[in-house]
């Protein structure tokens, strides 16, 4: 059952991400991205990370993508074309390089002899994924990263304001 679900989610994720890159129409690309996020959320669930899965849906697929779409619809999407130069040479080069990299990584994974997976207690795994467990970790072991992320968001906000606000006094 798990394997089948994984195969489904994984193939949706791969196909949708390829579509994101290849579609010329940005709105369609954005919608494909939502699909991608959704399948990722499914995979999180398979790993019994319920909280992350929910957050993925609410924040990414929900809030952020809606924002994306708004922006795309408000702006003229064809602006994008004039900014980037479309050179077919680039396209082919990019494809070749990506394919080779992909093949190499696959080869490396085949080369690896995996240790027996740590078969943790299934019940315990479920426990780790709960909101309480994550909250505890965030405020103990990961306290500093948590606080630091706050500063990252703050500087991102300030940066965004600096770059976009109409009038700065």
């Amino acid at each position: 059952m798990e394997v089948i679900l994984f195969a489904v989610f994984a193939s949706i994720a791969v196909v949708s991400s390829v579509l994101v890159v290849t579609r010329r129409n940005p709105v369609i690309a954005a919608l494909c991205l939502i699909l991608n996020f959704g399948s990722l959320a499914g995979m999180y669930l398979l790993l019994s990370a319920q909280f992350i899965a929910v957050v993925q849906i609410i924040v990414y697929a929900g809030a952020i993508m809606v924002l994306f779409l708004f922006v795309l619809m408000l702006l003229r999407p064809d602006m994008e074309r004039s900014f980037f130069r479309h050179d077919p040479l680039f396209k082919w080069a990019a494809i070749i390089v990506s394919v080779f990299t992909f093949l190499l990584l696959v080869y490396a994974i085949i080369l690896t002899t995996f240790n027996a997976p740590i078969l943790a207690n299934h019940a315990k795994t479920i426990e780790i994924g709960t909101v309480e467990a994550i909250g505890k970790e965030l405020f103990s072991n990961f306290l500093l990263p948590f606080e630091a992320i706050g500063f990252v968001l703050l500087s991102a906000t300030v940066g965004a304001m600096l770059l976009s606000k109409k009038k700065l006094d």
Binding site: F142, L143, P145, A148, F151, S155, G159, L162
Partner: protein, 483 residues
């Protein structure tokens, strides 16, 4: 976590608190804006001195915390981390002096500049002090996001916009690989803590995925140090960004990336088949040195020239990585210190001379500067000598220690290529000097007003460049003691 953790994380707290304080001042006190540059400067200076004087200090009655880590092992204390803290803070303090005048000149004084500058410094410190992969990533993002925004600081300048966008796109691309690498490392080592990863390294180095993880991690930071072939962004970004931002990115930003590489690379290279990464870095070093030096010759814009020269400098420092020995590491850190102050001086002078409209950036404009601005010309000449590695300035000893390390590890050919590239680089550095002293200016009327704080920045950098050149021994001894 205990209270002592807070105490030992003092440098981070001061800078972090400073960000919030400035944000508040900016929001609530209309008249408070004037003190923001000064406040930023003193925050950075204070942190720099605190870090410097706690380098060798261990928590009383405890085992060295750096072994063990603050905040549940997330952060180290003292030693190399504090040396880097000092470098970041002191360098940025000088960059604030440069910025203060520069922003006035281009008539865009926003306090966001100082907030973002402090944020980037906080990010750098998180990188250098980190004991956990997550922390490295957060620090890097903190620094990079601040830089992206700062690069686009001149909002009405098309070059500045372009720089910000390019830096953001390519930077995110590189960060993607970094994260990918971290995922491999986490997957194989099953821990994010550096201490756990290192304890298993001797086994893990036989695992291809782990090695790929380390490789991608290193590549992520090789992008930030702008070494060939991950350098393409540097000339455009350095040229387009406001000069005071370039001064920051090209110096302490690069030092932060090196600090991350040193965190991981040393332990892994020590235990693993070091020939793999060593030869990879040899190739990167040779390409960067030659590419940077040769491409710099064709440049007409002085900022662009310095960008290529910084690629070459990244190459010299990479030799120290290829050498994989303690003297190579010490050499890198010495070089970083020297390089930081040389380039701060150089960009400081450029920022002083640059006109409001962004003129006076072509090397041709420096003709006859020797008579118009004798002090600045002499300073720039000294810095150019230092950059090209002519003794007795700091740059010479940086190269010297690096090349020495290469020879010690048997890579004499790398040192030879380094010397060759230095010889090439003399051409474009000295061209500036020749223009300043042996050519007449076409436009004698361009009288430049030189402001005070920028001058102070130049003098401070100059003094350090000369001091580390005359007495490199004390610095290298301090560094060697920390490795």
């Amino acid at each position: 976590m205990e209270m002592k953790d807070l105490f030992y994380a003092m440098p981070l707290l001061i800078v972090g608190g400073g960000i919030l304080l400035i944000l508040l001042i900016d929001m609530f006190f209309k008249g408070g804006k004037k003190i923001i540059p000064a406040l930023t400067f003193f925050i950075l200076l204070g942190t720099a001195y605190y870090s410097l004087f706690t380098i060798n200090q261990l928590p009383i009655g405890l085992m060295p915390v750096s072994e063990f880590g603050l905040f549940y092992g997330m952060l180290s204390f003292g030693g190399k981390a504090h040396l880097f803290y000092f470098l970041f803070n002191f360098g940025s303090a000088i960059a604030v002096l440069i910025a203060n005048d520069y922003l006035k000149k281009i008539e865009t004084e926003y306090s966001e500049y100082y907030i973002l500058l402090l944020s980037s410094v906080l990010g750098m410190m998180l990188i250098a002090g980190s004991r956990n992969l997550v922390m490295i990533f957060i620090g890097l993002e903190q620094m990079s996001i601040s830089f992206y925004a700062l690069a686009g600081y001149r909002r009405k300048n098309i070059l500045s916009n372009e720089a910000a966008l390019k830096y953001f796109l390519l930077g995110s691309f590189a960060t993607g690989f970094l994260i990918y690498g971290m995922a491999f490392i986490f997957g194989t080592a099953q821990s994010m803590m550096l201490i756990d990863i290192f304890s298993q390294t001797s086994v893990l180095v036989k695992n291809p995925l782990f090695m790929i993880g380390i490789l991608l991690f290193l590549i992520g930071f090789t992008f930030k140090i702008a070494a060939v072939p991950f350098h393409m962004w540097a000339p455009d970004v350095y040229e387009g960004s406001p000069t005071s931002v370039t001064a920051l990115m090209a110096t302490v930003g690069k030092a932060a990336a090196f600090s991350a590489i040193l965190l991981i690379f040393v332990s892994v290279a020590k235990m693993g088949p070091n020939s793999v990464f060593s030869s990879m870095f040899s190739v990167v070093a040779v390409l960067s040195m030659l590419y940077g030096s040769i491409a710099a010759i064709a440049q007409k814009d002085i900022k662009r020239m310095l960008a290529y020269s910084s690629i070459a400098h990244a190459g010299y420092m990479t030799i120290g990585l290829a050498a994989v020995n303690p003297s190579g590491i010490a050499g890198i850190i010495f070089y970083l210190v020297a390089y930081t102050f040389m380039n701060l001086g150089a960009f400081g002078i450029i920022a002083l001379l640059e006109s409001k409209e962004g003129k006076f950036l072509s090397i041709e404009d420096y003709k006859g500067l020797g008579t118009r601005q004798p002090f600045l010309a002499a300073s720039l000449a000294i810095i150019m000598f230092a950059l090209s590695g002519i003794p007795p300035f700091a740059g010479f000893f940086g190269k010297y220690y690096i090349f020495l390390a290469a020879i010690q590890s048997g890579d004499t050919w790398l040192a030879l290529v380094g010397v060759l590239s230095s010889v090439i680089s003399v051409y474009f550095y000295l061209r500036v000097v020749v223009y300043m002293y042996f050519s007449k200016s076409d436009d004698e009327s361009a009288i430049l007003e030189i402001s005070q704080t920028g001058l102070l920045a130049v003098i401070a950098s100059l003094v350090l460049v000369i001091a580390f050149g005359l007495a490199p021994g004390s610095l290298i001894r301090l560094i060697s003691g920390l490795i």
